[in-house]
């Protein structure tokens, strides 16, 4: 992130501060800044044009989650799996492998969708779970609001704003190397408020493999009020760390991430807001390993050799965005917002793309969404994004929805939407392979071609499937995947009973699914080896019922229930998509405040049989219970909480993603101190 523009803006802003201390005699007529502006206000779930789940701070704490991805088990239709201890996959309604490309994920409205593979590197989030104010999840396409890749669902993680002088510390320590800490502080006064958070997450991953990891992170945000209508917000965040992937051999990885955001907002009244923002993000991932591999040799043809494997594999990615949005009429029957975005992603990875230079992808989009309250009983939504990407198709992602109130607290929602997922640079352009050592190249060149062509097994396979083969060779020309989605939902919002619930039927038609397609490519041996291209070949129809219920039946008690029943039909040409969607999922989170400032919560999570794509093993149905017991007390006059947390407390050994990754009980102690 270039620091100069921020400094200049901050200097300009400081120069313009015109606030004096309020005149004590006339507070009645003092000008005040618009604090709860359109972008800070949360739309009530029952008024939203799509199915929305909100996970708030209390739920986050009660769930006992150590890491953000674990929270999505509470959302209808979401499944969380681990390819290894630190590479989680968060999917919604299946069709997913280790890189879940059909979900848009944002932090404070800024996409963190990977510009290389798609998906999100959850372990690399530069925030702590205590930095989160709430998470909003749109279940279903949301292209009309956020454009491409808000395809099956969209997650927006909203972080906590500075609200005064607070200092906090959280520590987690437990078996299996669990060692997390997070320290945070917010301060400032009047016109400048800031919040800073630093910390680390570390654990040893699964027992069966060597997949320990450590992530360090920091984030800082500052809000500078220029006058009663204008505000500048700046944030910087970074994470770095290391981990190991243990597949055929241990591959150590290191990563670094940097994010910067600068936003200027003008709010004229509670209903009208205009903002401009600049984002910059960059990521470096390195798997820097060199080792020797033993090639057994072919009697009389090829001598046994110790060969170097050069795994100096680097991925660098940057993203620059400029975005503007205008909201109007939040107080009248017609509310609308519109705006535009320009984005440039750049990727450099000689190992992935066989190209030493940067590959750049640009995108611009325009969007508008309107909400019109036709009468007390009928709320209409219409919105669309027009997008022009350099990878994928230009086009419109529209949505219309109507919410009819049947009786106070009871409503029906109908919505129809269309969205697309653009091909990733990896799918479109990868030339993924490893450099062939000269010694091997020369030795193979010395073998007469006819001998090579008639090699008996297993030698033929050995030569063809050497580590030096071409893993993937994309021919390009992919088009965007398309989804057409319709749903109908009954919603209950009954404050007198402390109950909110939703029952929803949805039908999604997805076309042009992009997946690997087997091809043969010539290699240094002159033989062809099996490799992969990417094609848009499969379609899928996914339909199902989702239910959710949040209920506080008595004081201090709350229950959150989510359950789904999903069916899928797919052409299954390139992958067994039909196996990727569990027919049933369910979660229950029960929490209860107890006497003497104790609190207990129990989570239950069930996922029906399923299979992740890209080599995932068939997984039987799995279920687990989590337990959290906490006590709050004053320590030296400051609020302190000590909690004991156990995930999978009954220690059921169920496979997670692969057969050999067995989930076991995890337990740790948590101390949270607020000063």
């Amino acid at each position: 992130m270039s620091k100069k523009p921020i400094l200049v803006l901050v200097a300009l802003a400081t120069a313009r501060i015109t606030f004096a201390a309020g005149s004590p005699a006339e507070p009645f007529f003092d000008e005040l800044p618009v604090v709860l502006s359109a972008s800070r206000l949360v739309q009530p779930v029952a008024d939203a044009p799509a199915a929305v789940t909100v996970i708030d701070r209390e739920t986050i704490r009660a769930s006992g989650a150590r890491q953000v991805q674990e929270l999505f088990r509470l959302v209808p239709g979401f499944v969380v799996g681990y390819r290894n201890g630190h590479e989680p996959s968060v999917s919604y309604q299946g069709l997913a492998d280790g890189y879940v490309r059909r979900l848009q994920v944002m932090i404070d409205g800024v996409s963190i969708y990977s510009p290389v593979y798609g998906g999100v590197d959850w372990r690399e989030l530069p925030i702590a779970i205590d930095d989160i104010e709430r998470i909003e999840i749109v279940r279903g396409p949301n292209g009309a609001s956020f454009g491409a890749n808000a395809f099956l669902a969209m997650i927006n993680i909203i972080t906590r704003e500075a609200v005064g002088h607070e200092t906090g510390l959280t520590l987690n320590a437990g078996r299996d190397g669990i060692a997390d800490w997070n320290a945070r502080h917010s301060g400032g006064d009047g016109n400048l408020l800031y919040r800073i958070s630093v910390g680390q997450r570390a654990d040893n991953g699964f027992d069966a493999v060597s997949d320990n990891s450590r992530t360090g992170f920091m984030n800082l945000r500052a809000n500078l009020r220029l006058d009663s209508t204008e505000e500048v917000a700046a944030s910087v965040a970074a994470s770095n760390g290391s981990g190991q992937i243990d597949e055929n051999f241990v591959r150590p990885q290191t990563f670094e991430n940097y994010h910067g955001n600068l936003r200027w907002t003008r709010t004229t009244d509670a209903g009208s807001e205009f903002w401009l923002q600049l984002n910059h993000a960059q990521r470096h991932l390195t798997e820097d390993q060199h080792y020797l591999t033993r090639m057994p040799g072919i009697p009389g043809i090829l001598p046994a050799m110790d060969l170097p494997v050069d795994m100096a594999y680097k991925v660098e990615a940057t993203r620059d965005e400029f975005e503007t949005q205008w909201t109007a009429g939040s107080t009248s029957a017609l509310r609308w917002l519109g705006g535009g975005q320009w984005r440039q992603d750049a990727v450099r990875s000689p190992g992935l793309f066989d190209n030493p230079g940067w590959l750049r992808n640009n995108l611009w989009r325009l969007f508008a969404n309107a909400e019109y309250r036709l009468s007390e009983r009928l709320l209409l939504h219409a919105g669309a994004t027009y997008e022009h990407p350099s990878l994928g198709d230009s086009g419109l992602s529209p949505r219309v929805a109507a919410i009819a109130t049947l009786a106070p607290g009871h409503s029906l929602r109908f919505s129809v939407s269309h969205a697309q997922r653009n091909p990733t640079p990896y799918e479109e352009s990868t030339q993924h392979g490893y450099a062939v050592p000269d010694a091997l190249r020369e030795a193979v060149a010395a073998i007469p071609p006819e001998k090579l062509a008639s090699l008996p097994e297993p030698y033929k396979t050995m030569i063809q499937q050497t580590v030096y083969r071409q893993f993937a060779m994309a021919s390009g020309g992919l088009v965007s995947e398309k989804i057409f989605s319709a749903d109908i939902a009954y919603q209950a919002h009954l404050p007198a009973l402390h109950l909110d619930g939703e029952l929803r039927y949805f039908h999604n038609r997805i076309t042009g699914l992009i997946y690997t397609f087997p091809i043969s490519v010539p290699t240094f041996t002159g033989l062809k080896n099996d490799s992969w291209d990417f094609r848009n070949r499969d379609d899928a129809h996914v339909q199902g019922i989702e239910g959710s219920l949040n209920w506080s039946p008595w004081a201090g008690g709350q229950v959150n229930v989510a359950a789904t029943h999903t069916r899928i039909r797919s052409s299954n040409l390139d992958a067994n998509y039909s196996a990727t969607v569990p027919d049933r999922t369910a979660s229950v989170l029960l929490r209860q405040q107890l006497p003497a400032d104790f609190a207990v919560s129990v989570g239950y999570y069930f996922v029906g049989p399923m299979r992740w794509l890209s080599g995932g093993d068939p997984l039987p149905a799995s279920e687990r219970f989590d337990l959290r017991l906490a006590r709050t007390f004053l320590w030296d006059g400051h609020r302190t909480e000590l909690a004991a947390i156990a995930q999978n407390i009954t220690d059921r050994h169920y496979p997670d993603f692969f057969d050999y990754l067995v989930a076991r009980r995890l337990a740790w102690l948590q101390l949270r101190y607020e000063y």
Binding site: F19, F29, L36, S37, Q43, E133, G164, N223, S228, P495
Partner: protein
């Protein structure tokens, strides 16, 4: 005795000549705040519409020398400095744009034929508004800084009369607002923001509104700016409403009727921030309906 009679006749004659005159002259003395200027302008228009005449004097730190020389049937004093400056002029005087806190801090000497219209809405109006807007919420939180602390008992009693429970926490520094709110909010369903410069100012409004909003607690506040900033409801008198009451009080004094030494605002506005109310999941009566029903309870 005869001397007294002559004096009385003279006084009556002067009084009659001024009050019965077709064009009484009103001297508007104001401080230099924007709102005092705005009210003075409105009064100027209203005074000329009534066929009266007016003069305007701005008081700053120093009292202008011409204040006593300015002849007039009555004085309007806008702002506390102006009210203090004109207190002992001996003319009928209507003071306005004054807070109860300022009056309590520096009590004014008694003066005949003078009335002061305060900006603070009467406590009964606040409790009635909360009852009307939030029928199912009876726990009302209040952050009381130094200005409000002495009024807590009265507030509690009057709220109790309406079936409301006032839960007050005292605040003695701007920095302690958020921790105090964190303690207060779990025990309340509505937060009442009454003017207290330490608690409610440009620097504290953001933390206060964000914290209450996160807790799902609506804020009932005292100014138009507060409801625009994010309070759910505000109850306040606009400069126009203040000037209407000033004119009515002037007429009353000029006609020789006595007026209460202190008046609460007679006219008021109820403003609802619909966006915030909707986001908090509250369905509130319309602004007009709230105002009408509140007037009915006065």
């Amino acid at each position: 005795m005869l001397q007294r009679l002559i004096w009385l006749t003279l006084v009556l004659a002067i009084w009659a000549s001024t009050s019965a005159s077709a064009a009484p002259r009103i001297v508007v003395v104001r401080d230099d705040s924007p709102v005092a200027r705005q009210v003075a302008d409105m009064l100027g228009h209203e005074v000329s519409r009534l066929g009266w005449s007016s003069a305007e004097i701005v008081v700053g730190d120093q009292l202008p020398a011409d204040l006593r020389r300015e002849e007039g049937a009555a004085t309007v004093a806008l702002g506390f400095t102006a009210v203090q400056a004109t207190r002992l002029l001996g003319r009928p005087t209507v003071g306005a744009l004054v807070t109860r806190a300022a009056m309590e801090e520096s009590p004014l000497p008694p003066a005949e034929r003078s009335t002061v219209i305060m900006l603070d809405q009467p406590v009964e109006r606040w409790s009635a508004l909360i009852r009307l807007a939030f029928a199912d919420r009876s726990l009302v939180g209040l952050l009381a800084g130094p200005t409000l602390q002495r009024s807590i008992r009265t507030l509690e009693r009057k709220f109790q009369d309406r079936g409301l429970v006032l839960v007050a926490e005292t605040v003695n520094s701007g920095e302690s607002i958020v921790p105090t709110l964190d303690r207060l909010l779990p025990r309340t369903r509505v937060l009442l923001a009454l003017p207290d410069p330490l608690v409610h100012n440009r620097g504290t409004v953001q933390p206060l509104l964000l914290t209450t909003y996160r807790a799902g607690i609506p804020v009932v506040a005292y100014s138009e700016a507060y409801v625009n900033a994010g309070a759910t409801i505000s109850l306040y008198s606009t400069p126009k409403q203040v000037s209407e009451q000033i004119i009515e009080s002037l007429q009353q004094l000029l006609e020789g009727h006595p007026a209460a030494a202190l008046q609460s605002p007679r006219y008021f506005t109820v403003g609802v921030n619909r966006a915030v109310a909707r986001s908090l999941g509250l369905s509130l009566p319309s602004d007009g309906e709230l105002q009408e029903r509140l007037q009915g309870t006065d």
